[in-house]
Amino acid sequence: MDGAVSKSFWAPPTFAERGASVPFTTPIIVGSRVRGHYDELELVVPNPSGAKGNYILGWKSLPEVFSLTVHDRVLHRALDEAGASTPEAVRAATMRTAATGLAGPAAAKQAKALLKEQEDFKLLIQFSLLSETVTQLSGGQLQITLAHVQSETGRQQAKLILARVAHKVNIEGNELYARIEAWSDLLGPIGTPKLTRAPRLRRMRQRIEEFANSIGGWSEVDKSEHAPLGGLASLVARETSALAAETFAVADAYLEKIDKTVSAWDKTQTEIADAIERISWMLDGWDLLVAMWEDAVVKAPHEQQAVVQELARILPIIPEEEVTGARRDKIRDIGVQRRKLVKPMEDWVTGTIDADLRTRLEKYKAKAA
């Protein structure tokens, strides 16, 4: 590393300072994050030794400091062009890059499937929300069907139905429709609790919960020195899932009283957007860890132990300032424990791109959510 690198000795206190996780396929920068710093982007690289602090370098210097895979060079440019420093913006660039096939056909297939799913969910969420609105405002007298969101004619009919109930909230039919549409767009990553299939962030929380159970169970049966790290990963996952569940409840609560939500839309839309953005920050970076563990579950014990070490180093512990009270103390304590337990990752920090490690990262990408 050259002079572009400086070292920060404090743990990032907020999500924005921690940065958004970037699913690179170059092993040496696995678990790295991008964050905005004034008008520039920066890369935050977890300390390979597992010790406190991160390496921070200017975004533009990244290809000069590390020997990157072609996928990562393209992704680096895409993020730079988009000025992407939030999980959602990073995700959009990541999907586009993976869809080229530069991280292998499996990762491309998964990226395309996820992009399609995102489109499919748009309609489902819109339908769910319209249907709930009409049911609540008409006291169950009127109904919306899926056909009402599938064509222009259907949408016109839906607007007419909405117009019949809009007076209950003192809004014009068209305006009510526009608010519902905007709300549906916001709900894209989380959907509504009533959907039979959950969109990605709700699903991600579920996977983190399963991860917590699975790795927690492992840490109880594993007899090696790595077992406590499994327990720690489980604890962080459980905390993250619990915190996310609370925020999901906040976002979902607006669906209970649609009349109030749409009436005070100027205020509520910001609150809903904030809650969803917070969820996406909370769950950011877990994709890789869950995929790493799901892959390790069927491996031999010594391989599982190695994976636990790897994932503990990049464990997305919630930044302290994002929580309060006892939870903040608990998180601080988790950070201290991790530093004591994590060992340096010698395999991951060689200057050249190791084919085996790169292939593994691409496999995890093919399991992305």
């Binding site: 895979t69 060079r73 530069l102 292998g104 297939k109 169970g217 090696s224 069927v298 084919a355 085996d356």
Partner: protein
């Protein structure tokens, strides 16, 4: 697809939703169903589906008297065919059933039933079977030794017993089991004290466990000391570690008879390396990859692992006494060289050439459209080539590998050259721009896998600029 496999369907997908306690109950019930019926397809299929979580939750699989019988030698089991010549330190899985059937006859159904009852009475989550084993194993040892002694003296009896066990090689394995049974309590004590198979590293307390076993076997039945070596080598990730383990045991003053076992230890270690190679060879020959798309990649990694073991073994065998064994390890290495050459290096360029010839169809698959299996196999080829580069020099395949890589590189260069020429001369429309991009990305990806990112990126940038410059608005 059988009805059973069909019915199992996507069960594995839903497994993660079953609570752990329920999963353990289900496994318990299935194992019960399977007991006494080795080929119950439904139970076997379901247990197969459960395997990923089984390894994680690790419920105590249902014990049976037969499983208890085989427990002390289970690390030594091999899948080699019945006709394979006797392998030192290994026991064929095929001999378990006939050997156990003989034991049931000799011990009597009542005793076996009583042991089964005692097993059922053990609390769930029980981690040690030593107590019950100490009841079963010595009885088996006595009965088996009687059989072996009689068979050695009486040709007619041996002729009678051998086919029952599955053939002459299985009879030799039966003799090995007899040896294990005679010190089964000591071996099982060692197994329970050591990390699970495959052992990658041993802590000081593990060395002590091994030392204690050596001393205990020496004290009770010194002539069975080789069994300790067999049991230990079979449990190691790298069999060649055994020599340094015995040095550590000796440093603790617990070497016992292991000092006299140098030649047998070397023999077992080398045989184990050869057998691991045979397993590789068998799996390649069977061609059964269960739809796996990382066959060559896995092979390349496995060979790297074996080579590390061989290097380690040869290092430890330096000196006159180890010369013969060292030569055998060298022969394994020569066989590995052939495997690498014929399965990883040769024909890689031919396969890439076939892909390039059909890139119009395959580029979309490389970008994740439709069935991507064909492209994954090409990737597997190229990743294996890259992995083999780590040790091609050690195998004396440096030139072969470099030449093959050069051929692949010039094929891809030739292809992108033609693509760029086409773009320049004919131009692109908005409609066919996407196809040109897909073709470019898939070529770049292949190029990166064989020669690295720097050259691949250069090709990508050149290609994308050309595409931009030569795309016409319609």
């Amino acid at each position: 697809m059988t009805d059973v496999t069909k019915a199992l369907g996507d069960l594995s997908q839903r497994l993660s939703q079953i609570p752990e306690s329920t999963l353990i109950e289900i496994v318990w019930a299935l194992e019960g169903k399977r007991a006494g019926n080795h080929t119950d397809q439904t139970a076997l299929g379901l247990l197969g589906q459960f395997r990923p979580r089984l390894q994680l939750v690790r419920p105590g699989r249902r014990m049976s008297a037969k499983r208890l019988f085989a427990m002390p030698f289970e690390d030594m089991l091999t899948n080699a065919p019945k006709t394979q010549s006797k392998i030192i330190g290994k026991i064929s899985r095929n001999v378990i059933d006939p050997a156990w059937d003989l034991m049931v006859d000799k011990l009597g159904r009542t005793e076996v039933e009583q042991i089964e009852t005692a097993i059922r009475a053990m609390p769930k989550g029980n981690n040690s079977w030593l107590e019950l084993g100490a009841r079963l194993w010595p009885q088996c040892a006595k009965e088996m030794r009687d059989i072996v002694t009689r068979a050695e003296k009486n040709v007619a009896y041996r002729a009678d017993i051998t086919p029952k066990l599955g053939g002459p090689e299985m009879y030799l394995d039966f003799q090995d089991i007899t040896d294990v049974m005679e010190i089964a309590v000591e071996i099982q004590t060692m197994r329970e004290g050591l990390p699970p198979k495959p052992i990658v590293a041993l802590a000081d307390e593990d060395i002590e466990t091994i030392g204690k076993t050596v001393m205990a076997v020496d004290a009770r039945m010194r002539q069975r000391a080789p069994v300790v070596v067999y049991a230990l080598v079979a449990r190691l990730d790298q069999p060649t570690e055994i020599l340094s383990i015995f040095v550590r045991v000796a440093e603790k003053g617990m070497a016992g008879s292991t000092g006299e076992l140098a030649s047998i230890t070397t023999e077992v270690m080398v045989t184990d390396m050869e057998q691991r190679f045979e397993e590789v060879r068998r799996s390649i020959a069977s061609g059964a990859n269960d739809g796996k798309v990382t066959v060559r990649e896995d092979l390349a990694k496995e060979i790297e692992h074996h080579l590390k073991g061989i290097a380690q073994g040869r290092e430890q065998l330096k000196g006159q006494s180890g010369a013969a064994a060292s030569r055998r390890l060298e022969r394994v290495k020569i066989k590995l060289k052939d495997v690498v050459n014929s399965n990883i290096i040769e024909n890689a360029s031919k396969d890439v050439s076939a892909v390039l010839a059909d890139i119009g169809r395959l580029a979309a698959k490389a970008a994740g459209e439709g069935d991507i299996g064909e492209m994954q196999l090409v990737e597997d080829r190229l990743v294996a080539l890259q992995l083999a580069a780590k040790y091609a020099g050690d195998l004396g395949l440096d030139k072969e590998l470099k030449d093959e890589i050069k051929r692949v590189e010039s094929q891809i260069d030739g292809h992108t050259g033609r693509l760029f020429g086409d773009i320049r001369s004919r131009g692109l429309t908005v409609d066919n721009r996407q196809d040109a991009e897909a073709e470019l990305y898939s070529s770049v990806r292949m190029l990166e896998l064989v020669v690295g990112a720097d050259k691949a990126e250069k090709t990508l940038v050149e290609g994308l600029n050309l595409i931009d410059e030569n795309t016409r608005e319609q």
